[in-house]
Every structure is written in structure tokens, then in C-alpha cells.
Symmetry: C2
Subunit: 439 residues, 2 copies
């Protein structure tokens, strides 16, 4: 199967940030076979199974969401502005109402939302990851799926740290999947015993899979490690030997210079969730300092309960405005650098930059066409600026994952969004009733 | 002409923040004749010229953009991340390329963008306001249009402060228009002689029209008044007697407690442009302190060169995240309060709250229906949260201004967007060429 995309303004996001203002991309099966300026295109269009005229679009690599919780769509718009949201809504509802079926239908909906927003790869942390892997497989997205481990009984594990046992079955089952990488995801440093963290790290090493965790996110997390160990969470994690290049640290809001040195030394990547972090008033992670040390930093939507929208356009704007303001420098984080964080740098965080994150020959064909016909996309003197400062998720027109057309003309190719919503609504009945009682 | 809107979830934004979860609105000519729960609807549908079934929508008052520059669409995505943007791009291009015709076509495009984003009223500051009034009249938006006054020759006035003379003709010409309020708009305290500011204030008083100005926005503005007068810009403006309830102060980033007392005492309203202020690293205006003093605070997109998108959904998210973070309080600025700033509080800033800003019997029929069918709008436990944290401008489905249907099913009723863009593109030829030379 060979597809030609022509007449797009291509931002490759390769190391040189090559652009083709009137470019073409050749997809063969799951890979990019060719890319360049159309003036240098020498093949016959009749050699292709499909030719897509992508005029009035900007082509970018599929976006990489380095941290989310796809099972949490049911929580969206519930108790956003409450002080005790986690304990008032999230934990009780997860305990009482989260099921394998609800996670599965939530996952499918969340993946649809991400696909329609141009996210082709995501890293998840939740419960029932086997059901979420099923959902991901059906939706044909690329993903790292991390089973949660935490020191209390959960909806998918009746005993503390039961996620370890769950993962021991889950990981080998999905290890050879073309698009899915199973992973282990301890909830946070302060919500796990160190023995469980070590077991998780051992699984990560044994299978050579990612380990992802919320790190240095909460004030009480910082206080806990300071009081108990006279250390930061990152110092603690290093001391028990669980950090590695396979480790993906979400948030990292409260980090010291020494913490940054540790992240650098251990090869840890950071999932920066600016929207969720600032909506919850937790603070702004010092990612400029991380980037100065060449620590990989990608963007994360966080879950739909914390970040609300599962798109990186929202996040890119927030990254620009928060970090320019924090640094008192309007030239900081230029648009091109922010788009890199949403694509190739995110791929580096996930250790997938050999396969995805840029549009280059030999990489997987994860491609997004953003239309520039809509009112907000004119004029365009700088396509990076248009994507970061003007675009929103609704501008995403076509999405290819692993060479397959997933979204065409802003519609899912293989699914009816209303069906996905109906199925989720039905499955949410108990959850919704209980949620309204708590509000 | 009588129209019935039914089956919408209505957020009236009246003083009690009344909601109707299955509500109706009756429009007669330019006014809201009735509103309530559909269970109490007692009329015959056949009595209406049109019945709109607004299922799966949230109805809100037309949004109020308290500060923008509609003539500046041509500047969008040009030099966003440059340190010297104002002097490198904006001033030279305005001087060399801005014409009455370009302002007019830019204005029409900007108004279309705002209408499609649910903004029914805006306050503008630019040059060639007579041409922009023509554009506003044709597009049928409600607006305050302020002619700029500044201490150097401009594209529409060959002498310093020539805007005063322009305004003396412009104001009486549009004074009796149903939807347009002409106004006077000195650029900033530091870019006008005090005699010009006094003349502008005299015009504002003579015609009982608004005076709007950038205030306390720039570091160098603060330094200038500190060094020259040992005062803040707001103290200076009060000392020369130009502040009043007719005054709309844009930005107000750098304000002292005394400044806030002055704004309160003089009855000045504030246009808070969080997106533009933070993208340019200028800072976050202390609007919580303003609101604590009952100073009216509305939201502004600023111009498309500074704020990039002409919609208030983008601004609402930024208000939430920036102010929650600044106050270290996730419960600060709950979604309902932010939607109020985008509607009824904005109307108060413009001294138009008797006519617009909420959905109430007797008010003008400026109404927006936001669809909840799109992927980002599910589930909805709290419609305010859905609008502030999830929605984007593309969710706006139908817009009524002064009782007239302006947008239906996400399309302009009276205009083809591509025509507006083509016209603007043609008019921009010289501008675009020059802009590329400067980049």
C-alpha cells in the first residue's frame, strides 16, 4: 500500500528542522518512504494506491502525549474547582464505580479525542490496563500503557500494591504488539512502599519496558520526603535504585538543582503537564533548567479530569505563556521549540525517537495534517507560530498512524463518535448517579 | 419577527446566575421577550416565525471582548517571539502599509472571527475607525470603536495627535447608530501629551462616549512616570482629570494599592488581556484585588498580533490557570466567575450592562449557542466548567446579535468566509511583501 500526500507545508521536525513549503510525503505500508519538495518529486502519481491533495494544510509529525489517564473521561467537568477534589470525588468514585468495562469505553473515547486532536502516541497510567490495551489495539493508536501500583486496594486489585501482580500478567501478554508497549506505573513516590517501587523497577528492567510515575508534584509529597528522609522525592528514588533511562517522570514541578542533576545523570525523561499543574495551582515546573541540561522534556495533557482536554494545542499555548512570563522573556520558548516538545522531544522522553516524532524517511508514518482554512489560521507568516498561538484541536484535518488513515476530514474513519459516546454513557450510569450524589 | 429557541441548557448569567437545564428563549425583534424552563412554556410554537431546536447546546449571553484591535489581522503570526516586535514590525508596517481599505477588510475578517467564536460585542482601538465602523455596520456586530490618538504621525493622521481631529468628525457621524458607539482612544499615557489626553477626555464628556487607553502595561511606561512625575500612570491620569466612569483601562498589569483605590473611586473599568500580557512576558494583572474592590473587570483578546486568536474561550482558560497559580489556590476563580467576566462583567466594563451581558427579559437578544456534540464536550457535570476548561471557539454553533441570526451551524449567515479572506489577501499584497522583508 502506497500513499502520496502532496501540496502540504511540511514541518519535518528533524534535527535540522527542515521545512518544505510545497512538500510531498510518500507512505509505504507503515513507514515514510519519501519526503521532500514537490518540485523534486519524480514519480508517477498513478504508482500510488491513494493520492491526497493536502493544499491549505500544515503537515507535522503525529503529536506525542507523554502523560495521561485515558480511563478518566467520566470525571471530566466534575468538581474542577473543589479544594479536596482527589479525596472527595476521584478516589471514592474510582473505588465504587470504576470497572473494566467503564475503563475500556472511556479509553476508546479518550483515544478518539486524542486522534482527532492529532495525538498519535500517548503514555498512559491507569487501572485495568489490559482493557485499555484492548481499546488501544482496536483504535489503532501507538501507546505506552502503564498499570498503576499504589499502596491501597484499587478497583482492579483488592490488595495494596496489587498492580504488581496485575502487571506480571499484563506485560508479557502485550509485549510483542506492534503499537502497544506495556509498562509499569507506580502512582507516586509517597503512595508506594519502597519494596513495591523496587519490584516495579525490576519488572521494567526484566522486560525492558518503561516505568512511569508522578514525581515531585504535590506539596505534601515534598514535605513527606523532607520530614521522613531529609531528601527530595527524586533523591529518594535514586537512593533506592529505581531511576533509569526507562523512567518517565510526570510533573517534576518541585525540583532542586540536585534533582535536576540526578534526572540528567540517570537519563530520566520528563512529562510536563503545564495545564493540569497550573489549573490545580501546583506551580510551574522549571523546564528551561531541564532543557539547559539536555534532559528530555515532552508535553502531557494529564487526565481529562485534571487537564480537561486531551489535546496538545491547549498545552502548547500554556507552555508559551507560562514560561515566557516566568522567565520575563517574550523570546523564550519560541514556537518552533514548543512544537518540538509536542513531537520529537516527547518521542525522546518515551525512548521512541528512533521510530516517531519527526517526518523522516524510515520512520513510522505517524502524520498529522492541520488545515489552515479556518478563520483562526490566517494569515500565516510563521507556521510554527500559527500552530502554537492560533490553532486548536478542531483544526486537525487528517491523521495517519503507522501508515493507516485514522482521521479524515475531521472524522474518525473507523468509528462513529456518537456510538463511542453512547456506549460510554450507558457504561457510566452508575458512575454518573454516584458522582451527582457527591457534588 | 418572533423566534423561539428551545431545548437548550441556558446559563442566563443574571444576578442570581439562574440556569434552566431544559430552557427556552423567545426573541422578538431585537429583544429577549421571554426565557425560562420549557416545562413552563405556555405558548403555541405556531405563533413563531422560527423555532430552533437547540438540543445538545448550552446557551450563554453573547460574549463581550473589552479590548481588541480589529485592524491588525494582517499582523497575525508575524514576529511573535521577537524581542523588538513593536518597533521592528508593528510601527513600520502600520506607517508604510496600513490603509483605510486594509483596515476595513481586516476589520470585517476580525469581526467574522469574533462572531464565529461567540463574541457579539467588542471594544476596539485602532486607526481608520470610520472604515472599521463601516465594517462593523455591515457585519452587524455591537461595538465600541475608539479612534487612536498618539504623539507621532500615523497612517490615518499626518500630524501628532491627529486622531483628535479625526475623532471630531468620526464621533458625531456614528453617534446615533443602533449597534455602534464611537469612542476616543489615546494609545497610552506615555505616548500622549497631557493636553491631548485632556482633549480626548473632553470629547468623551461632550458626547458621553467611552474613552479607552492602554494603561500600566509596559515597564518603560512605569519608569517614565516614576522618573518624570514620581507617580504611577494611573496617578498621573487622575491628576490631569481624565479618568471617569466612561474610561476603559486596558491591561492594568502594574498597579499599586493606591492605583486600585483610584480606579475604584473614579469608576474605571478594566479590560484584562491575560493572553497578550503573558505571551509578551509582561505579567499578570492583579484582578483578584480589583474584584475585591468591586472594580469591573472584563476580558479582552487584545489584537490578533498580540493575542493571536479573537475568542474568549482561549482567554477564559488562561484566566483560570494563571490566577489559580498566582494565588496558590485551585478554588480561586471558579468557572462560573470566569464566564461572568466574559459576559456580564465585560458588559459592566463597557457601561452596557443594562442592555447586554446576560439573558434576561428586556435585554438585547445577543445569544450564543455552544454545541456539546463535539468530542471535547463530554461528559458535562458542570456546564460552566465545560465552557471554561474544555470548550474552544470551534464549539460555537449559533450566534444572534440584536435578534438577528449571524452564525448558524458554525457558518456565517450573510458572508462567505473565503470571500472575506480573499478580499483581505488581495488588500494585504503590499503589506505581506514588506512584512517578509522585515522578518
Amino acid at each position: 500500500m502506497r500513499t502520496l500526500i502532496k501540496n502540504s507545508h511540511i514541518l519535518t521536525m528533524d534535527a535540522k528542522r527542515t521545512e518544505y513549503s510545497d512538500g510531498y510525503i510518500i507512505i509505504e505500508d507503515d513507514e515514510i518512504l519519501g519526503i521532500g519538495s514537490y518540485v523534486h518529486f519524480s514519480k508517477q502519481e498513478t504508482d500510488f494506491d491513494e493520492v491526497i491533495d493536502a493544499h491549505q494544510t500544515i503537515a507535522i509529525p503525529g503529536m506525542v502525549n507523554t502523560h495521561t489517564h485515558i480511563g478518566m473521561v467520566p470525571f471530566r467537568s466534575l468538581g474542577d474547582d473543589y479544594p479536596d477534589r482527589l479525596r472527595r470525588f476521584l478516589f471514592p468514585l474510582e473505588k465504587a464505580c470504576m470497572t473494566k468495562e467503564l475503563a475500556y469505553h472511556s479509553g476508546k473515547y479518550a483515544i478518539a479525542e486524542m486522534q482527532m486532536a492529532g495525538i498519535t502516541t500517548f503514555a498512559d497510567m491507569y487501572y485495568f490496563e489490559d482493557a485499555l490495551a484492548q481499546a488501544t489495539d482496536e483504535m489503532k493508536s501507538r501507546a505506552i500503557l502503564g498499570e498503576t501500583v499504589v499502596d491501597f486496594p484499587t478497583c482492579d486489585a483488592p490488595k495494596s500494591h496489587g498492580g504488581i501482580g496485575y502487571a506480571e500478567e499484563f506485560i508479557p501478554k502485550w509485549l510483542d504488539h506492534e503499537l502497544i508497549t506495556p509498562a509499569i506505573a507506580p502512582h507516586a513516590p509517597n503512595t508506594n512502599h519502597s519494596q513495591a517501587l523496587k519490584k516495579a523497577a525490576a519488572l521494567s528492567e526484566k522486560y525492558n519496558i518503561p516505568m512511569t510515575m508522578h514525581v515531585a508534584e504535590m506539596d505534601y509529597e515534598m514535605n513527606y520526603f523532607s520530614e521522613k528522609y531529609n531528601a527530595t522525592p527524586i533523591e529518594f528514588l535514586q537512593s533506592i535504585g529505581v531511576l533509569s533511562t526507562r523512567f518517565i517522570a510526570a510533573h517534576c514541578i518541585h525540583v532542586s538543582d540536585h534533582d535536576l542533576q540526578i534526572l540528567k545523570q540517570e537519563g530520566v525523561g520528563v512529562a510536563h503537564c503545564i495545564g493540569a499543574n497550573t489549573k490545580s495551582a501546583k506551580g510551574v515546573a522549571p523546564i528551561k533548567d531541564m532543557l539547559n541540561l539536555a534532559i528530555p522534556v515532552g508535553l502531557g495533557t494529564d487526565g481529562p479530569s485534571s487537564g480537561n482536554t486531551l489535546d496538545l494545542f491547549t498545552q502548547m499555548k500554556l507552555v508559551a505563556n507560562f514560561h515566557k512570563t516566568a522567565l520575563h522573556d517574550r523570546t523564550a520558548f519560541p514556537a518552533k521549540e514548543i512544537l518540538a516538545m509536542a513531537t520529537i522531544e516527547g518521542a525522546k522522553v518515551l525512548n521512541m525517537a528512533n521510530e516517531i516524532g519527526s517526518l523522516e524517511v524510515g520512520k513510522k508514518a505517524d502524520i498529522v495534517l492541520v488545515e489552515t482554512k479556518s478563520v483562526n489560521m490566517f494569515p500565516i507568516f510563521d507556521p510554527y507560530a500559527a500552530l502554537v498561538y492560533s490553532a486548536n484541536a478542531s483544526n486537525v484535518q487528517d491523521v495517519f498512524i503507522n501508515g493507516t488513515t485514522i482521521v479524515r476530514d475531521k472524522q474518525l474513519v473507523n468509528y462513529d463518535l456518537m456510538d463511542l459516546r453512547s456506549n460510554l454513557t450507558i457504561e457510566m450510569a452508575h458512575f454518573s448517579k454516584k458522582a451527582k450524589e457527591l457534588a
